[in-house]
Subunit: 321 residues, 4 copies
C-alpha cells in the first residue's frame, strides 16, 4: 500500500474576480466582518480575523465575476519541491512566479479537468496585527471584529469542472490529499469530489460543470464558530439586502451547516460551520453518494435549489460573445 | 530546516482505570451519551457516536483511578515503522503487543518525562454499526444518540508529568507533531505543553505534576458540536449529581470552551468545544504563556480552580502505603 | 379606549387524537423528551420538563388524528367567572365540566369560526415531581431529561378554521388577548390570525382551512431553549425516521425558528424557539402581512412547503365516508 | 382570594448616571450594539434594536454613576389611573411630570425601602425607524445591527435597597406584579426579591444594600437572543478592554445565563439570555432560596464573586464627603 501524499498543508487563498470591486470589498468587510490587509494594482487583499496569512481572499477588478487562481500552502519547503517535481513530470506545470503580496515564490499549473490555475508555495508573510487589531488572546491572529457575520477563517473552495474525474485523478495522484466523499452515479464519472488535505473533512470540492465551461467558480466558504452564528449571518444578510440563495440548512454531503449568498460582484459565498466533525482516519473509506441518496435532498430534507446546479461564475451571459 | 514529523494521525484511545467500573460505564453511557462496543476481562470498551474506531475509551477495573495506557494511531504502516525505528534508537521501547479488541499489533514504550505507557499502531477494526445504531447519514459513524451530553468524538488527553521538558523533547524529536502552545516561566522548564499532530490545535497536553508522581492522568476530553451543547452538558451533570469542578468557561490556552466534571471512578473528564479554531499553519510559531499571562485567569477572567493544579489520578491517598 | 381583556393566563393543554396511541406516546417521550404524568380511559397525559401543570398534552386513542379540545388557564377565579359570563351572553357556551385529571371544573364552549371545543378553567393540580424527576434547581418544575429533543414547555397551538374572521372576533371580543399579527389580503377576511394573551407573542394561531372543514388541527408547538436545540431536534428526528415536513428555518410571521414533523398518529408537531422576542407593548399595533409579503416566503427566503397550506388533521380521507 | 394587580405592562426605561457620558455612549452603541435615538440637555437616549419605545436607557451626565429614575409602562390609561390613585392613598406620591422625550405625562413617586424614584406612564412615542435602520422584517422594530453584542431589548433592572421587605410590600401591594423568587434566611427580612409583571420571570429585582445607602443601582440588563450570543458578547468585551466582573454562567436564581461587565461610567451592566423560560402560572408559588441554597453558588457551582455583594453605584467614595 502506497502512503497518501500529505504535502499540502491547507487551502491558502482564492483570487476572486469582481466587476464591482468596491461593493465587493464592502460586502466582505461590513457583512462578513473581514479586513483589508493590502491593496495593489487592481486587487484588494482581505482576511478573516483568525486567518494567519496576509490574505485568504484577493479581490481583483475584472469585467466579469469568477476565479483568477487559488493556492495551496505546502507543509514545508521540501514538500513544495516534491510536488513541483511531480507536477513537472506530468507536463501540466507553468513555472514559478515571483510571489505576490503576502507570500514568496509560487509554482503555478493549470489543473487538468477544470482549467483552473492553481499555485503552490511555502514562504508566507504571516499577518502581524497592530495596536488597533491585536487580540486580547495571544492565540488569536487578530481581534474578533464584532461586525457582521464575524467569519473566522477561510474554510474551503468549490470549483466547477467539466471533467471531474480528470480533476480528481490529478489531485490525488500528483498534488495530494484523500477523497473523503464523492457523488457517483452509474459509472466512474463522479458528479462531485471532496478532497481533504488535513483533518478538516475537505478544503476543496469540485462538482460537475453542467455547462461544460472552463475555469468556473461555484463558491468560496468562510467558517464561523457555531451554527448559531450561521443563523446570525442570515439575519445580517437579510437586513442588508444580500440575496440568500439557500439555507441555513445542513448538507447531507459533509454535513456542513450552510448559508449561500451572492456577493455584489455576482459570486456565490458560503458561510458555514462544520460543528465538531473532523476526518481523523488516515485511510478513510470514501463515502459514495448515489443517485438515490441525492434524491433525498439535503440532510433534513430540503430540496436542493436548482440554481445550485446551474449557476457558477462567470455565467455564459457574463462573457463577451 | 528539517521537516516536522507528521507520522501520527491522531490520539486513538485511552485506557482509564476505575475502582467503580459499572458506575463509570453508566456515566459514560447515560451522562456522556457514549456506547459500549465490547467487554473483555476486566475491561469495558466505549466509543462516542462519531468515533470511527472500535473504541476510544477502555475502562478497566482497578483498585484506584488513573490511566493504564494511551495510544496513537499512525498515518500508515510505513509511518508506524518509521516511528518504531526511532523509538528503538532511543532505548525507550518495550516492544510489540499482539493488539487488543479493535486494533492490531501495537508497539509500546514508556514515555520519558511522565512514565506513561504509550502505544502506536496502524491496523484498526473500524466500527461497523448495526441496524439499531446506523445513522441516517452515511458520513456519520453511528446514530446521534439523543441521550445525555451527546459527545461526538474523543478530543484530547491531558497527562501530568514530573519532567515536562523531557516529555516534550521525546514527543517532538521521536514521535512527532508540533508544539502549538506552552506555559513557560523563567527558564526552559515548561509548566505545560500542547502538541498538535493534525489540524486540531492539540491532541495531547502535558502539565506539570506538582506532586512529582509517575503516570498520572489529568483529564480525558470528549468533544461536542457546539458551545451550547457544553452548556446543556452542564445541566445534564447538574441534574444527575455529577460533580462539576469548573466551567463552562473558555480557556485562554487553546481557547477551548470547557466543562470539567469527575466521573464516578474519580477521574476528571472534560466536555469541550473548540468552535471553528484549527491550526492549519504547518510552521506555527509556538504560543508562549508567561507567568503574567497566567495570572489573568481563564479567557474571560475566571480564576483557575485550585484543584486543577493539584488533583490528578491517582491521588497519593488512592495508593497503597 | 376600552381596555383589552387580559383574563387568560396562557394556553393550558391540547387534547390530541391519535389512531396509534402507543406509538404517539413513544414519539412524545423518546423523541421530544416529554414524560407521562397519567393515564385514564383511552387517554395518556404528558408534559414537558418545565410545564408546571399536570399535563399540557392529552393523547386520546381515536379512529383518526386531530384535536379533541384545547384549554385556557385563566388568571384568577374572578377572571374565569368574567369570561364565562361573557361567553354565556353570546349563546355559544356549552356549560361546566367536572374537570379532568389535573384540573378542576372547566367551562366549555364551541368556538365560532372553526368549530373547536375550548375549555376555560382556573383550578390546577400543579405537577409535583418525585425523587426520580425532581430538578436540582428549585425553579425548574422537573428534571431536564437529557433525552431526545428535550422540549421545555408547551408553546402554542395552531388551528385551522373555515371562518378566520369569526374566530378572531369571538376571541378578541369575548375571550381576550390581542391580535399581534395577521395575514390580510384584499379585504377584512384574514387568512391567519395570531393571538397573544401574555408577553409571549402568541399562544394561539388560526389559519384558513382551505378545505372548509370543521374542527381541524394544524399543529401543536413545544419550545426548546435555543435555536441550536431546534437543530439538534432535527437530527434526532432524522436519526429516528420521523418525517420532517419543513425547517429548520425562521418564519417571517412571528419570527419563530421552526421544525415541523409528523408524529406517528399523523398530527403535525412543531419544535420551536422564539429567541428573546416578546411582545411587551400592551397596545401593540397589529402587524399586517400582505399577499406581496407572503410571496417572499419565510424569513430567509425558504418557499413555504405546499403541504403546509393543505394538510391538517384529520384529512378528508381519514374520515368515514 | 384577591386578584393580583396586573396593571404594569413592563419595565420601560432606566435613567443611568455617568461621569463619562461620551465614553458610556460609545460602550452602549459600539459594544452592546444599541443606537442613539435622541439627545436633550445633559442626556443621551438609547434603545436596543427591538425596543419598541423611543428609548429604554437615558444616560445623563452626572458627577457620579448611579440611577436617576426608572419607569414602568402601564397596560392602559385606566391602569395608570388605578395605580396613581393607589399610590396617592399611601402618601408616597410626588405628582405628575410633563413627560420626557419619548413619553407623555408620568406620575412619580419615591419607592419606600430603597429611596429610588419610579415613574409610571402610558402615553408612549413608539419608535419609528427610518430608511437607514428599518428592518427587513415588519415585526422587528429596527434593523438587527450586526455590531458588538447585538442586544435585543431591555430585560430587567436590579436595585439595591436598605429595606428589601418594605420595597417588596409596596411593590406588591400598591404597584403590582407577583413575587416569583426571593432569598429569605432566618426571618421575613428578604435578602432579595424578584418581581414579575408579565410572563417574563422578572422585570425588577431588588437585593439588600449591605452599605445601607439610598438610591443605589446594582445593574441594568439587556437581553440577547441566545446563550451563544452571551458568549460572543464576552469575547467582544474581552477584545475591547471592558472589565468582565463575572460569567458567562447560569444563575441559580431565575436561571438567567449572565455576563456582568462595567460600563465606562462605572455602572454594572448585564448581558443575559433566559432561554425559553417564562413564568406563565398566574398564581405561581414564590421560590424561596435559603442560606443553604445560596451556599451552593451559581447554578453550575461558580462561587458568586464578592464584588457582587458589595458594589453598587454610586460607591461611597464616589460621593462628596
Amino acid at each position: 500500500m502506497q502512503e497518501p501524499i500529505w504535502d499540502i498543508a491547507h487551502l491558502a487563498h482564492v483570487e476572486m474576480y469582481s466587476p464591482r470591486l468596491e461593493e465587493s470589498v464592502q460586502f466582505f468587510t461590513q457583512i462578513l466582518g473581514m479586513s483589508v490587509s493590502g491593496r495593489a494594482g487592481k486587487s484588494v487583499y482581505l482576511r478573516a480575523y483568525d486567518d494567519y496569512e496576509h490574505h485568504t481572499l484577493k479581490l481583483t477588478a475584472h469585467p466579469h465575476p469568477g476565479i483568477g487562481h487559488y493556492a495551496w500552502r505546502m507543509r514545508s519547503p521540501q514538500a513544495l519541491q516534491r510536488r513541483v517535481a511531480a507536477i513537472e513530470a506530468t507536463g501540466h506545470g507553468i513555472g514559478w512566479t515571483e510571489g505576490d503580496l503576502g507570500h514568496g515564490p509560487a509554482y503555478a499549473c493549470i489543473h487538468p479537468g477544470g482549467g483552473h490555475r492553481v499555485e503552490l508555495y511555502f514562504d508566507s508573510d504571516k499577518y502581524q496585527p497592530g495596536a488597533a487589531d491585536a487580540s486580547a488572546l495571544k492565540n488569536t491572529i487578530s481581534r474578533f471584529p464584532g461586525r457582521g457575520a464575524n467569519v473566522r477563517r477561510l474554510d474551503h473552495l468549490n470549483l466547477l469542472a467539466k471533467d471531474v474525474k480528470a480533476f480528481r485523478d490529478f489531485q490525488l495522484g500528483t498534488l495530494g490529499g484523500i477523497l473523503t466523499e464523492t457523488i457517483l452515479f452509474e459509472n466512474d464519472n463522479p458528479q462531485g469530489v471532496w478532497f481533504a488535505v488535513n483533518a478538516k473533512s475537505y478544503d476543496l470540492a469540485v462538482t460537475c460543470d453542467h455547462l461544460q465551461m472552463e475555469n468556473r467558480l461555484h463558491h468560496v466558504t468562510y467558517a464561523v464558530n457555531s451554527r448559531e452564528e450561521v443563523l446570525l449571518a442570515a439575519d445580517v444578510c437579510l437586513e442588508n439586502g444580500i440575496f440568500i440563495e439557500a439555507g441555513p440548512h445542513k448538507h447531507a454531503v459533509q454535513q456542513t451547516f450552510f448559508l449561500y449568498v451572492y456577493e455584489p460582484g455576482g459570486n456565490r459565498i458560503e458561510i458555514a460551520n462544520a460543528t465538531a466533525r473532523l476526518v481523523l482516519d488516515p485511510d478513510y473509506k470514501t463515502i459514495v453518494w448515489t443517485r438515490e441518496d441525492r434524491a433525498k435532498g439535503q440532510a433534513w430534507g430540503l430540496e436542493t435549489v436548482s440554481s445550485f446546479h446551474t449557476r457558477g461564475t462567470p455565467m455564459p451571459e457574463d462573457l463577451p460573445s
